[in-house]
Subunit: 359 residues, 2 copies
């Protein structure tokens, strides 16, 4: 097992990473202050891992909330089911919410914890590779609004994160690739050496070699923790974590949530960001090709859906949360391993990038 401390002053917390961590109560107990817990999961994860977690937490009074699976249910009506259960069983402020599942479950449970009686404790147990390297660090919680993804939410930190790499064994291959997209992202934005390591080990990572996967998650979370510690509420540098996401969100919205996985859209979006960076002359064509090759090696798409037009991109990118006072900002690369956030780019290069993505 490895342990990483996310340093946020009085909101600091540990991330435990390793195989078969779910089976013992030892890691969770120090982070549960009362006698009661509420486990929130979905109907895909519940049959796989809920019994083991309930056994590990046998010493506590447990409330279970099993939600329908998927991004389509990441809304107020589903969130309300958590509040109804907590109030129905009279959980007080000392309760602890435990999120057992992927990013949707983590985001909703974290937001429920942020809002229930104005804030109770919560623990994240992310079960997908994407959520393990993305939602474990950063404290972003929330739900979707019909007009936009993650528009309602809070920055709220967990007491602890438990990453049991064994839970990846039941994950579809496509979702492993989607998680690898975010892992590659950390290399691209901040750590050239990690990118080299990923390039060398991609096949073993896709085969879920336990030690390599633990290492990849550990290094990803460490990079994210470093960026988040510098900018907890996303005033500046933290935005580099969105490499490929502005293009990617446009793809997701255009296709309808759930058609492309988030990580798949980010994969194609990162290739577009690499392409634009090359068109601006910030990276050379060899670096662009290498970046694209690593993304392809992870089993990810390297171009947006053919049905998307330049106009689709322009319209959908205009609602991005990174738009400030009407101006689009993008995360681009100065080199493989160094990202910047800028609104200062040649708009013709962007047009060429959007048009080129369709060719």
């Amino acid at each position: 097992m490895q342990c990483l401390n996310v340093d946020l002053g009085d909101r600091s917390y540990p991330i435990y990473i390793g195989a078969r961590l779910l089976e013992g109560p030892g890691l969770l107990a120090p982070h549960i202050s009362g006698k009661r817990v509420c486990i929130v999961t979905d109907d895909t994860v519940a049959p796989l891992y809920l019994p083991a977690l309930e056994t590990a937490l046998a010493a506590y009074q447990i409330t279970r909330v099993v939600l329908p699976t998927g991004e389509a249910f990441k809304n107020w009506a589903t969130l309300q089911q958590i509040f109804d259960a907590l109030l129905g069983e009279r959980h007080d402020r000392k309760t602890t919410l435990i999120a057992l599942g992927g990013g949707v479950i983590g985001d909703m449970t974290g937001f429920a914890a942020a809002c229930y009686q104005r804030g109770v404790n919560f623990i994240q147990i992310p079960t997908t590779l994407l959520s393990q390297v993305d939602s474990s660090v950063g404290g972003k919680t929330g739900i979707n609004h019909p007009a936009g993804k993650n528009m309602i939410g809070a920055f709220y930190q967990p007491q602890a994160v438990l990453i049991d790499t064994s839970s990846l064994q039941t994950l579809p291959e496509r979702e492993i690739s989607a998680g690898l997209a975010e892992i590659i992202k950390y290399g691209l934005i901040r750590d050239a050496e990690f990118l080299d390591w990923l390039e060398r080990n991609m096949a073993s990572l896709r085969a879920l070699d336990s030690d390599l996967v633990t290492e990849a998650i550990m290094r990803s979370c460490a990079i994210k923790a470093e960026v988040v510690a510098a900018d907890e509420r996303e005033g500046g540098v933290r935005a580099i974590l969105n490499l490929g996401h502005t293009f990617g969100h446009a793809i997701e919205t255009h296709q309808g949530y759930g058609s492309w996985l988030h990580g798949e859209a980010v994969g194609a979006g990162m290739v577009m960001a690499l392409d634009l960076s090359a068109r601006l002359g910030w990276i050379d064509v060899q670096q662009f090709e290498r970046g694209r090759r690593i993304i392809a090696a992870a089993g990810l798409p390297v171009a947006p859906p053919e049905s998307m037009t330049v106009d689709d991109f322009r319209r959908l990118m205009a609602v991005d949360k990174k738009v400030l006072d009407g101006q689009l900002r993008l995360v681009l690369l100065r080199s493989l391993g160094e990202a910047i956030v800028t609104a200062d780019f040649d708009t013709e290069a962007l047009s060429a990038c959007l048009a080129g993505a369709q060719s």
Copy 2:
């Protein structure tokens, strides 16, 4: 005009208090960072003060949200109207929400600001005496759930609070008394000298003498700010601000929200807390009588509704947010001017207090 700084480190903010403050933009402008604002108010306050505020903010692009009036609408569906307006008009993270109204508007607007895109700026312009001395300090925001008041919310601080005492001129007399209940509370829990001052000036305060009202609001906010600064997230001493509230909430719930005003229920609840403190021998009967006299002089009820039984109280008090691990904690008085929070009281004295309240 007076100005009080609420000292919460990087979440510190000023409270401006005085007559006719709403008419100039000078106080607001430094606290609005973007070009856009969203004014949230209700259909009672809008015709009275919205035009003046819009004139003062003519330099900004304004979105208006006029909600139905009253506690019955302090719920998710109404909150959603704020999000719909913000997203419908594409407000980004630099927007500023402005709450113009009483406590319900302040709580909902603050919660909307806490959640919209995970947090945007907001300014409070409380127009009732109760909200001026209660919601101005403390950062409590939220909505009701069918199973309980204020069960969903956040601690979230405004950029500034503007208290225009002229807005009290349109307030019904009953609501002035309700505000005085919270003002008396500050004297009872923390400041015997302020309680003396209130006792001497009660008639002039009820007649809305401008200088005296400004002074009373200023001192109330200062006491609350001092308590909140010591305990922003209500771990300990902050709970003394709930003097009379556990009894009061039971009264409100029993009567149905809106039948008794919150301040009226707190008035009767404080008399019950004084009574229990006397039964426990912590204050003498003269102090109890004096406390009750001051509350009566403010035009407040000094006993719960006759229809409420001891069982009603016990059942309704069991869901109070101050219940921890099943144990009821109450705010009681060691003297007029000194409150404590305790679960360590003789339960027979509580029974006698509840029974006595009905006699």
